[in-house]
Structure formats: structure tokens, C-alpha cells
């Protein structure tokens, strides 16, 4: 209840710019940080536009209860959840049907990259908490989860990265914000394994012609590649900082 909510007349203006000033192929500003929690085995924090998302991993760890253990690989579990204050209207903390569906698709997006056969009879628990939501949380969530898995030392083929594209005011655009998602004509989140160009998640709702779909898919894949660069950089930054800080202390000081 902070802002007057009036529907914008148009989502793309005369100059071809979107309601937040972006061009159709422009991603929102993204910030990633790895290893932000103490208790979790791995964690990452990601901001994408106004999205604020915390991802954490526990595991591989002993399976509880015992019966969820699989004999030949790790049981990967995922829980997507939104904080009550994350949306315009406060929401109940109890998991919704949407939360449960997203938990499943996110798990299925990242699991193909995990070498789960290395850890039979264990569980790897993935948690995503949406602290503030503004459209595209499942994509940003997948991107953050990959970082958290890498931070936890879970062996993977590659990082998984996700990006959505869609259609607003008849134009195909990348990385829809909340308003564009609600008022636009299509939303297409895509997750992929960058090194093999393999797609591990695709969902779509709305209306797209086959041509529009191809254009949107191509935009989403381009977005994924850009975001993957940022994932690499965030991971290296975390560990290089530690390495550099230590090496700096090794420089002999004057007069010592």
C-alpha cells in the first residue's frame, strides 16, 4: 500500500523503450554474491531488477527420514518459498500451489547438471527464499541455486542458468518485470546448461506464434549466456578475494 497503482497505457513507448526505460533486448541490472550464509553448506544472493532472492544448499547429507534415501544416487529436494512481505499485498507464509509447482520445475532444471550418482543414499536440499518479488523469480532462483550448489561443493557438469523472454505490446522482449508479466501477452522462462546448449527447463504461458516463439527463445538463450558470465565472475570473485587478501599479507613490509 505504498504506491498508487494505475495501469500504464502502454508497455512500450514511441521510442521503443519499456516502462522501466529498457530496450527490448536489455536485461535488468543483476547483482550476485556467493557464500552469504554461515550455517548453510552453500549459499548465494541474487538481485535482478527489484527481485531479491536467497538460495541455499544443505548436503549431500544424511537422508531424513531414511525412507527418502535412494540406493544409487542422492535424492535432490527443492523448496521455493516467498516471504510474506515479498509482494505488494502481504501473502500467507503457507506454501501455495504455485510454490509447489515452481519447487518441482526448479529442481528438474538443475538436477540434470548434478553428479548425483556420487552420493547414493544422501539428500541434497535446495532452498529458495524470495525476499522481494518482481517477475522472473523462478529464473533468477535457478541462477542463484546453481551458485549455491557450486558454493556447497556439489559436483556438477556445469552451472545451470535461466532467463525469461516474452511478449509485451506485440513486441518480443527479454527479462520481463512484474508489470510486463502481468499485463503482457506471453512469458517464456528458459533454463539451460551453457556448455552443451542443453535446455533443462522451458515453460510458457500466453500467446506466441511459432516465429515469435523462436525470437523469444533466442533472446532468452542470449540472456542466459550473459548471465552465465556473471555467475562465473561471482564465483571467482568470492574465492579470489580470499586468495588475494592472503597473498597481500605475504608482501614483506619496509623495514621488517
Amino acid at each position: 500500500m505504498l504506491n498508487k497503482k494505475t495501469k500504464p497505457e502502454r508497455l512500450i513507448d514511441d521510442r521503443g523503450l519499456r516502462i522501466d526505460g529498457r530496450r527490448p533486448d536489455e536485461l535488468r541490472p543483476i547483482r550476485m554474491e556467493v557464500g552469504v550464509l554461515d550455517k548453510a553448506d552453500g549459499s548465494a544472493y541474487i538481485e535482478q531488477g527489484k527481485n531479491k532472492i536467497l538460495a541455499a544448499v544443505y548436503g549431500p547429507r544424511e537422508a531424513h527420514p531414511r525412507h527418502v534415501a535412494l540406493p544409487d544416487r542422492a535424492n535432490i529436494r527443492c523448496r521455493y518459498h516467498m516471504a510474506p512481505f515479498s509482494t505488494e499485498e502481504r501473502r500467507s507464509p503457507a506454501p501455495s500451489r504455485r510454490d509447489m509447482e515452481l519447487s518441482k520445475v526448479i529442481r528438474e532444471a538443475v538436477e540434470p547438471a548434478i553428479f548425483s550418482k556420487y552420493f547414493p543414499r544422501t539428500t541434497i536440499d535446495i532452498f529458495i527464499e524470495i525476499l522481494q518479488a518482481d517477475g522472473g523469480t523462478r529464473s533468477a532462483g535457478i541462477t542463484g541455486v546453481s551458485l549455491a550448489l557450486a558454493d556447497a561443493g556439489v559436483p556438477m557438469r556445469d552451472l545451470v542458468v535461466a532467463c525469461a523472454a516474452g511478449k509485451v505490446d506485440g513486441q518480443v522482449v527479454v527479462d520481463l518485470c512484474d508489470e510486463e508479466d502481468k499485463l503482457g501477452e506471453a512469458d517464456l522462462p528458459v533454463a539451460m546448461i551453457p556448455s552443451s546448449n542443453a535446455i533443462t527447463l522451458v515453460q510458457m504461458d500466453g500467446d506466441l506464434s511459432p516465429d515469435e516463439f523462436e525470437k523469444a527463445l533466442s533472446m532468452a538463450v542470449d540472456g542466459c549466456k550473459k548471465i552465465h558470465e556473471m555467475q562465473n565472475e561471482a564465483l571467482k570473485r568470492k574465492y579470489l578475494l580470499i586468495k588475494e587478501a592472503v597473498e597481500e599479507k605475504m608482501e614483506p613490509k619496509e623495514g621488517e
Binding site: 500500500m1 547429507r61 512481505f85
Partner: protein, 270 residues
């Protein structure tokens, strides 16, 4: 004791903690009355009316405040509504499980609530729009993100900072309807409750127990002090015992310590 299901501590570790405290030392070089390093940042969730992030040592809490319209309770038709909820989300600790709030998360919410409610920190009468029909509801949602002990104090500090930070749309009431005006106004705040939690370890009381200290303590006591130095809430937990002297001493420690912490919150919420 542990306030929540935690991986158990080795006997040797508990012994080290108890021995150190007997000579007035703690594992992280603190004195028995020191808090860990405290960082409070407000306004971190723009979509919420108010918010605060608290780091107390390695414990991390996020509190969000939302203000919405609702129906008053039948027995208090002229009062706005305050409701405090706490989530011990599974990513915060290896032993938090997904599911409905358990007794620990409910106790946490109710202790934080008691501090705000009993000190009348929010003047609920000022949140009435039409008696018996329409009031403002203030939702305070405590989100525990990383559990390294003393969730209560961290949550209470965050809750106070968040309600101080909260802004709502300015309004006037015409014919029992809310007419919004330009601009934002703060919540009607008139008190600043501060919770001080102590753990009994061996025969000493220590302020702000860390997770390991919680695993070695036998009892926990929280004393909430409002701005005039009066006690507005207390909560004892655990299977241990406190002597009358210990209880009196604890209240003294809380009165002293709470003014310091109150200043920290006021500074952060500016």
C-alpha cells in the same frame, strides 16, 4: 538445552564453555555482558512498508512490515491490529524443517509481539478508521535467515527497527472511508521496547548467547524493557532453574543493557 532442535554439542565443548564462563571468559573473547557485533540496516525491502535487516554475530534476521486494511477484532472495535509472525525457514539451520510453525517459531513470534504490544509501541487506537468496521492491520513478519543463537533479541531489534522504518500512505477519513493523500507518514509509534536475552551457563548468566552457548545453557531468560525503564515482557525457557537473586540480577542487567541497544536501533532507523 537448545531452543530449537540443533545438532548436539560434544560434551567436551560444553565443558569448555562452562569452564571459560566460570572464569568470566567466553569463546569469542566477549565478557558476560557483551553483545556480539551488531549491524542493523533499514529499508532493505522497498515493496514492504518497512523493513530491517539485522546481523547479530553470525545470526541474520530480516523483518518486513506490511500495513493493510482489515476488520477489527470484535472485542477491540476501536483498535487497529498488530500481528507478529516468525518463520524459521529451513535454509537458516540444518535442523529447521519445512512445515507449519513449530513451538519455537511460535514462541519467538509471541515474545517479540508481547514486547511491542505491552509497551504500546504502536498506538493501535490511531489505526482505527471506522470503529467496529475498518482498521489498519500491521503485519510484522520475522524471517530468520541464519541461526547462530539469540534469535529473540535479533528479531526484536529488527521488528522495532522495521516499524520505525515503516511508512504508509498519508490519508484522511471522510464518511468512514479512507481517502489517500499525497505523501507518506510513519506509523504512530510511542514506545521503544528492547528485549535482552540471557543464558544460564553453569552458575553464570551471559547476555546474547551464541548458538554453541545455547547448546551448553540450562535456562534462558528474556526481559523486555520499554523506554521508561519498566519491564513490559518476560519469558523464561528451558529445563533449568533460576534463583530469585539471579532473576533480580537479570532484570538489572536488562535495564542497563537495553538503553544501549535502544540507542543503536534509533540510530539505524534514522
Amino acid at each position: 538445552m537448545s531452543s530449537t532442535k540443533q545438532p548436539a554439542i560434544a560434551k567436551i565443548e560444553a565443558k569448555t564453555i562452562i569452564d571459560l564462563i566460570a572464569s568470566n571468559r567466553r569463546m569469542d573473547e566477549r565478557t558476560p555482558t557483551d553483545y556480539r557485533e551488531l549491524k542493523i540496516e533499514v529499508g532493505v525491502i522497498e515493496k514492504a512498508n518497512g523493513s530491517a535487516k539485522v546481523h547479530l554475530g553470525k545470526t541474520k534476521i530480516l523483518v518486513g512490515v506490511k500495513v493493510e486494511l482489515g476488520d477489527p477484532f470484535p472485542d477491540t472495535p476501536e483498535d487497529g491490529i498488530l500481528t507478529v509472525n516468525a518463520e524459521l525457514v529451513p535454509l537458516a539451520s540444518p535442523s529447521f524443517e519445512p512445515g507449519p510453525p513449530d513451538e519455537n517459531s511460535i514462541e519467538l513470534a509471541r515474545v517479540v509481539d508481547r514486547g511491542i504490544r505491552e509497551s504500546k509501541a504502536i498506538d493501535l487506537k490511531k489505526l482505527c478508521i471506522e470503529p467496529g468496521k475498518k482498521v489498519f492491520v500491521v503485519f510484522v513478519d520475522v524471517y530468520v535467515l541464519d541461526h547462530d543463537g539469540n534469535l529473540i533479541d535479533a528479531s526484536a531489534l529488527g521488528a522495532l527497527a522495521a516499524i520505525l522504518n515503516a511508512k504508509m500512505r498519508d490519508y484522511e477519513i471522510k464518511d468512514n472511508e479512507v481517502i489517500y493523500k499525497e505523501g507518506l507518514i510513519p506509523l504512530p509509534i510511542q514506545n521503544y521496547p528492547i528485549a535482552t536475552t540471557m543464558g544460564k551457563i553453569g552458575s553464570s548468566l551471559v547476555i546474547d548467547p551464541s548458538l554453541k552457548e545455547e547448546q551448553a545453557m540450562t535456562a534462558r531468560l528474556t526481559v523486555t524493557i520499554e523506554k521508561n525503564g519498566h519491564i513490559c515482557a518476560m519469558q523464561m525457557a528451558g529445563l533449568g532453574e533460576l534463583s530469585i537473586d539471579e532473576l533480580k540480577k537479570a532484570v538489572e542487567m536488562a535495564v542497563t543493557k537495553s538503553s544501549e541497544m535502544r540507542a543503536r536501533v534509533m540510530e539505524a532507523a534514522k
